[in-house]
């Protein structure tokens, strides 16, 4: 019995190594399934909670154009959450259970959404920086080993690039505007830069799951590799905008053809992960409130569908 299990694992790894995608009904190690459910549902939760900091600005967008764009973006985030929940469900996770885990605090979501969005420039920064970081994380996931997750990510990535561009456009408009507007953009960058670097997760040395996830080709790059790429990508864009990246240690390194940069405040990172960030309670509270206040709609729709099905049955009889 044990040898059978070992052979299955070996065959599974051989398929992964040959870049064959794994599909829902294929045999997979329990740990692979669990890791994916955890990662995909966390990702879905992040999309869902990610609507909140931006929803905060829909009614206060500075023009009808910006308001329409922001509405579309927030609607996209809801869609991304749905693609991802569906992908997790192909692994046997239940939607109700995933939401219950989010609401109880058992499941995590990206810590970035536990920071407040204080000014309109934050909408620019969130699109440009935060979605920029998300894209770096997500593009390699389009080739992740689990088929439904990879396909969901292809859709997400297509839509995400609009998010980043609209954010950059907001920043550019502010930076080309009055000195007060430019100062607002700089102030937003100052607050968001470090939390955005945290989005890539702990340092490789402190990320125990990375090695296995790389072996299973769920992940294709380590946290530190992606963080480095992000800094190299963003610094020239900040320079174009005429903004200063708030890191005195930031310096071009000719030998590695990349930037050296300062260390993230990991104490702050873990503190936010543990639930003590500025907005953890607000975000989860808003999520739970929306879920509970929508309960009657879900129940009524189900009752209505049941009644109609029964009526159709009686009429047919």
């Amino acid at each position: 019995m044990e040898t059978v299990e070992i052979n299955l694992e070996e065959q599974f790894q051989a398929r992964i190594d040959a870049d064959v995608r794994i599909e829902p009904k294929d045999w997979m190690p329990d740990a692979y399934r669990k890791t994916l459910i955890r990662q995909i549902s966390q990702h879905a939760h992040s999309e869902l909670v990610g609507m909140l900091p931006e929803g905060n600005w829909i009614t206060r967008a500075p023009s009808l154009k910006r308001k329409s764009i922001l509405l579309s973006k927030v609607q996209d985030e809801a869609g991304h959450g749905l693609y991802l929940y569906s992908a997790a469900e192909t692994l046997g996770a239940s939607r109700d259970q995933m939401l219950a885990d989010l609401h109880s605090g058992k499941a995590k979501y990206s810590s970035i959404f536990n920071y407040p969005t204080l000014s309109w420039a934050d909408m620019g920064t969130v699109g440009w920086l935060v979605d920029g970081a998300a894209i770096l994380n997500q593009v390699p996931l389009c080739r992740t080993s689990y088929g439904p997750y990879a396909r969901a990510m292809v859709r997400v990535c297509k839509e995400e690039s609009f998010h980043q561009r609209q954010g950059f456009e907001i920043m550019q408009t502010l930076c080309e505007g009055a000195p007060e507007q430019k100062a607002m953009a700089q102030e937003a960058l100052n607050r968001w830069w470090w939390p955005t670097l945290m989005m890539f997760g702990p340092k490789d040395a402190d990320s125990p799951n990375t090695e296995q996830s790389m072996k299973w080709r769920i992940k294709r790059f380590t946290n530190d590799e992606l963080r480095q790429k992000f800094v190299d990508m963003m610094v020239p864009q900040a320079e174009f905008l005429g903004l200063t990246v708030p890191d005195p240690a930031l310096q071009w390194n000719e030998t590695k053809q990349g930037y050296d940069f300062g260390d993230v405040n990991w104490e702050e990172f873990w503190n936010v992960v543990k639930g003590n960030g500025m907005c953890n309670k607000d975000r989860l509270g808003a999520r739970i409130k929306a879920h509970e206040e929508g309960a009657w709609v879900r129940e009524a729709a189900l009752a209505h569908a049941k009644k109609r099905a029964e009526r159709a049955e009686t009429q047919a009889a």
Partner: protein
């Protein structure tokens, strides 16, 4: 907690007239009408489709991956089913 989860539906989209409906993903809905409305919001926000099919997931029957060898391997040694198996003299046209 009572069972409140809406049934799961598979969504198929025809991207343009003349092409097949293609599976794009799934979603939850109380009934078929709602499934189509939700599919429109979730899967066609950027002109991805002009027609939607939804099928409740429980009605989809799938082949078993464990049967893959028995199912598909027999086609492996039947190269004569392909036109390239046959040698046609160069002077023969329109074949």
């Amino acid at each position: 907690m009572t069972q409140s989860e809406w049934p799961l539906w598979e969504v198929f989209i025809r991207s343009k007239q003349g092409l097949d409906h293609k599976h794009v993903g799934s979603l939850h809905a109380a009934d078929a009408t709602m499934a189509i409305q939700n599919a429109r919001d979730v899967y066609t926000r950027r002109l991805e489709g002009i027609s939607i099919w939804v099928v409740e997931s429980k009605h989809v029957h799938a082949s078993n991956p464990d049967d893959a060898e028995a199912f598909y391997d027999p086609a492996n040694d039947k190269v004569y089913r392909h036109p390239t198996f046959y040698q046609v003299p160069d002077s023969i046209k329109h074949m």
